[in-house]
């Protein structure tokens, strides 16, 4: 049984409850025990680093120090924003021990040693679990479902800090989806920012940015978008009616978490996935699973002749 220190983040009990819930289902199937950090605090998200220098490092530092008390070597974080904050904090403090000491004075929960590695849940599933293990657990393959894997900006960037997958055209989620039997469509907007934290303070920016992503995903032939970040999910799903109104389009493109699809493929029932939480209904897209794929025009490949006959 692998043990993974778990940082749920503020949205886990609210806007991304379905992410947290299905993540726990999936971890059970993968035989990973989640060790939640005791009495964790908010990482500060965007606001802390936008407005402050030291507080922005102090908030995640406390969680990192608490994580060290659990003695697991890795901490997995579901929310991409929380992941980015913790990862950047660890990077900065590991690089500059003087700074680490200075920030450490703001808390009295312990001393920072930098002994816990920080990974996003996507990274953990892809690297530590691996495609082969995922394939072996698939009971209900998702054949017939076309998904556009949307990574957002924080899971693979900046490259020097995340050191995971490609910052421009990552394929880890795509490969996981393919392992589940779904078809991951080529998607050029997979790392374009959705508008992130402007969701409340500057919603028109989100509508524009998320709108482009949704339109492009639809044009790429996807039945749904798959994400690994609560803020992305919220912007693409909750704001979708706003996008439709602003751009005068009909999208009907549901947005699901990759853990929901993992749980589904591993044999869980649809009603265990908290589908009711979605603003854009997902049932129609899920109904495509198991149906015959549309006949694609066969592209005749150029014959590379290797004749075995003497003329």
């Amino acid at each position: 049984m692998k043990k993974l220190t778990y940082f749920p983040g503020c949205s886990a009990h609210g806007t991304s409850e379905e992410f947290d819930h299905t993540l726990k289902l999936v971890m059970k199937s993968l035989e990973v025990e989640l060790d939640e950090i005791p009495d964790w605090n908010c990482c500060g998200a965007t606001s802390a680093h936008v407005m402050t220098e030291n507080l922005a490092l102090a908030l995640p530092l406390r969680n990192l120090v608490l994580a060290e008390t659990l003695h697991n070597d890795t901490m997995g974080i579901a929310c991409a924003s929380c992941y980015a904050r913790h990862k950047v904090t660890k990077y900065e403090l590991d690089k500059d021990p003087v700074l680490a000491k200075k920030i450490n004075t703001t808390i009295d929960d312990g001393t920072y040693h930098g002994s816990v590695e920080v990974k996003s849940m996507l990274q953990f599933v892809y690297e530590d679990i691996g495609i082969e293990k995922i394939k072996s657990l698939v009971k209900k393959p998702l054949t017939g479902l076309k998904v556009a894997c949307y990574y957002g900006c924080l899971l693979t960037r900046p490259k020097a800090i995340t050191q995971f997958d490609s910052p421009e055209y990552p394929m880890s989620m795509d490969r996981i989806m393919e392992a589940l039997g779904a078809t991951a469509v080529p998607f050029d907007f997979k790392t374009e920012c959705c508008g992130a934290s402007f969701s409340i303070s500057s919603s028109d920016v989100v509508l524009s940015l998320s709108g482009k992503i949704l339109e492009y995903a639809k044009a790429s032939g996807a039945d749904m978008i798959v994400v690994a970040c609560p803020l992305c999910q919220s912007n693409l799903d909750m704001r979708q009616p706003g996008v439709e109104k602003l751009f005068h389009v009909k999208l009907n493109l549901p947005v699901m978490y990759f853990t929901q699809l993992l749980a589904l493929a591993f044999g869980h029932d649809q009603k265990d996935l908290m589908l009711g939480k979605h603003i854009v209904p997902v049932e129609k897209a899920l109904a495509k699973i198991g149906k015959e794929p549309e006949k694609k025009e066969e592209i005749k490949s150029k014959k590379t002749v290797e004749s075995e006959e003497a003329k």
């Binding site: 050029d188 002749v305 290797e306």
Partner: protein, 657 residues
């Protein structure tokens, strides 16, 4: 009895303003062995030299110290002067009181003067221990090796051969011609590249003084300037070139089709093939990886078809040797693989191609007969976006330098596109427009005006697909607005890179290369065609990116150097080199290991006179040794010694302070 003469130079104000040259002379006169000391305004001038010569004769001087500028400046001048007065030229020592004193201690005349006196005293002490040395004569093999049969190698070979010096020209691919054979038209004249190149290729093939060895590689080089031995691997072509007439019937019948490298994979060639119609020599070779007979023992059609019986499946690689006196390296360039530009969809989008692919497309002899098309669907593109600086000037992708030719050939591409597709529209994303050559700025202006190409200043940020089109997005920095171009085709001006095997070749030849793999010149300004190894020269893009005029100039410069080297039957060499004192050498071979010029070899000598038992010791090859002193530093048994810098000379210097 030593009789040293010291000559202190004012060097105008350069030395005299910061060093009291009179005091230096007075202090010097106090030194025991100094019999004559004087100062003068410009010691290197004719009267200055005359002073020295006169003093030598009148005072019967046994060695001379000139306290002046760096020996790099005038050591040769003063050596010649003293030899004209009858003194061995190596009985000269230079005390550098300019670069080492006046130039670096301008704020403290007193200390600068004291230091200058010290430097003179050291030089005097050293000069007393100087030995008479004589320049070494080395025999010269008057034959040149040219590695690489592109325009650089061709030009160098022809120039050397025209001077009636035999040339061995080795080329890796089945035909000479290099990159120029792949070009359609060249800037700034829009000459047809093959039309101006092929006559030269024929000249090479028919020149009585050129031995062309195609489909071969240099695998080893031994020896030293004037006396090199080169090992050449002739790859098995499986075709007997002497009987083959180049009729091409074998290629026609061959059933195997393979992506054609000459056209960068945009069409196919056969397993037995000649790279292009004007190939020189016009003889096909068999690609052993794809030939059915050579891989599976089947087919054999080419052999059956050949009327001259020239096909020989049993041919093997062959190593041959040639003796040469000089080498010209002209191995050319390759283009950057833009796969790291994931933001441009390189490899994902079929319609994002490199500049050389575009060049092949617009060539009449190319895969599309001269019409640019979209590789994805074969349609003729109307909006073509050209992106410059792909790889070049991009430290994040690992290349800092500018590739020099892309601004010009992109303007050329805009012109060619305009000629081939009249209603096309070129969009050129650039950072700068570098058009520094003769007629180059005029050419760019012509391109801009005649084609009405839209030049947009800004690097492209991203390319994505929208239906059949590619959307190219960037900022036009001149109006400060984001622009998106709906393109049918995107052409990337990828960086000019050194050939991947340049470092290997450099190691085999014993020359150096930089972090990009470009071969290193001896001095970027004053010795641009020489390398650190005497007798090996560089021409063309193997040294750095450059255009055809500069390549041809550099090639001719190499030829001039080679001819200079071969001007007499022997070569004079600086005698300040190392030699091994046989009695002291233990044969540990550490010197061989540290010698950067591979100038030391082993030799067997009897352990005692008249003994038949042999022992191994080291021997310095006089022609190759450059006198760096590494062997002297590492030798534990005082066997290695450097003429002109013996232990005695150096210890004298140290004790003098």
């Amino acid at each position: 009895m030593a009789r040293v003469g010291v000559f202190v130079c004012f060097c105008g104000a350069n030395i005299a303003d910061f060093v009291d040259v009179n005091e230096v002379v007075e202090e010097t006169k106090k030194i025991k062995d100094v019999k004559f000391a004087i100062n003068y305004k410009y010691m290197c001038s004719d009267p200055g030299q005359g002073l020295i010569k006169q003093a030598i004769i009148e005072n019967k001087l046994t060695s001379v110290v000139v306290a002046a500028c760096s020996p790099r400046m005038h050591e040769k001048t003063f050596r010649r002067a003293i030899s004209e007065a009858g003194l061995n030229p190596f009985l000269l020592e230079i005390a550098n009181i300019r670069e080492h004193s006046s130039w670096v201690h301008q704020k403290d005349k007193k200390s600068a003067t004291a230091k200058s006196c010290d430097l003179v005293r050291m030089a005097v002490a050293k000069s007393i221990a100087n030995e008479q040395l004589h320049e070494i004569s080395v025999p010269v093999t008057k034959r040149a090796l040219v590695i690489g049969g592109g325009i650089a190698g061709i030009q160098a070979a022809l120039d050397i051969a025209d001077a009636h010096i035999p040339v061995v020209l080795v080329e890796k691919s089945p035909s000479i011609g290099g990159r120029m054979a792949q070009l359609d038209e060249t800037f700034p004249t829009l000459d047809c590249s093959q039309c101006i190149l092929t006559p030269r290729m024929v000249d090479v093939a028919t020149h009585p003084y050129i031995e062309l060895i195609p489909y071969s590689e240099v695998v080893g080089l031994d020896g030293y300037v004037g006396n090199y031995k080169v090992q050449i691997k002739k790859k098995a072509s499986y075709v007997n070139f002497s009987s083959c007439t180049g009729c091409g019937a074998c290629s026609q019948k061959c059933p195997v089709k393979v992506p054609n490298e000459f056209n960068l994979g945009h069409d196919k060639r056969k397993a037995i093939y000649s790279p292009f119609p004007q190939a020189v020599p016009n003889k096909p070779v068999i690609d052993a990886e794809h030939c059915l007979m050579l891989t599976k023992g089947k087919c054999g059609i080419c052999k059956k078809t050949c009327e001259k019986g020239s096909i020989d499946y049993d041919m093997k690689d062959e190593i041959i040797e040639r003796e040469v006196g000089a080498v010209v390296v002209a191995t050319g360039y390759e283009l950057y693989d833009a796969s790291p530009y994931e933001e441009y969809g390189v490899g994902r989008f079929k319609d994002v191609i490199s500049s050389l692919e575009f060049e092949r497309m617009v060539s009449a002899s190319g895969p599309t007969g001269g019409t640019p098309i979209r590789p994805s669907d074969g349609e003729i593109p109307k909006n073509v976006v050209f992106i410059k600086c792909v790889g070049s000037r991009d430290e994040a992708k690992g290349i800092e330098y500018c590739s020099k030719i892309c601004c010009m050939y992109t303007a050329k591409h805009a012109m060619l596109l305009h000629h081939k597709v009249h209603d096309s529209h070129a969009f050129i994303f650039y950072m700068d427009i570098r058009a520094a050559g003769k007629g180059y700025e005029e050419f760019v202006k012509r391109a801009q005006v005649e084609t009405a190409a839209t030049y947009l200043r800004g690097r492209v940020s991203k390319i994505y697909q929208k239906g059949k089109k590619l959307i190219v997005r960037g900022e036009d920095a001149q109006i400060g607005q984001i622009v998106e171009v709906e393109a049918d085709l995107v052409v990337l001006a990828t960086a000019v890179m050194a050939q991947k095997d340049n470092p290997d070749l450099a190691r085999r030849l014993g020359i150096s290369y930089d972090k990009y793999g470009f071969l290193s010149e001896a001095h970027p300004k004053l010795r641009p065609v020489e390398t650190s190894k005497a007798g090996i020269f560089l021409a063309g893009c193997t040294q750095a990116p450059k255009d055809i005029p500069d390549t041809v100039s550099q090639a001719s410069a190499c030829a001039a150097k080679v001819c200079g080297l071969f001007a007499s039957d022997t070569m004079k060499k600086d005698p300040m080199i190392s030699h091994i004192v046989q009695e002291n050498c233990t044969g540990c071979q550490n010197c061989i290991r540290v010698c950067p010029y591979t100038a030391i070899v082993t030799e067997e000598i009897p352990i005692a006179p008249r003994s038949t038992e042999m022992r191994t010791i080291a021997k310095v090859n006089e022609g190759v040794c450059q006198g760096c002193g590494s062997c002297v530093a590492i030798c534990r048994s005082f066997a290695a010694t450097l003429s002109g810098f013996t232990d005695k000379q150096i210890i004298n210097e140290i004790l003098a302070i």
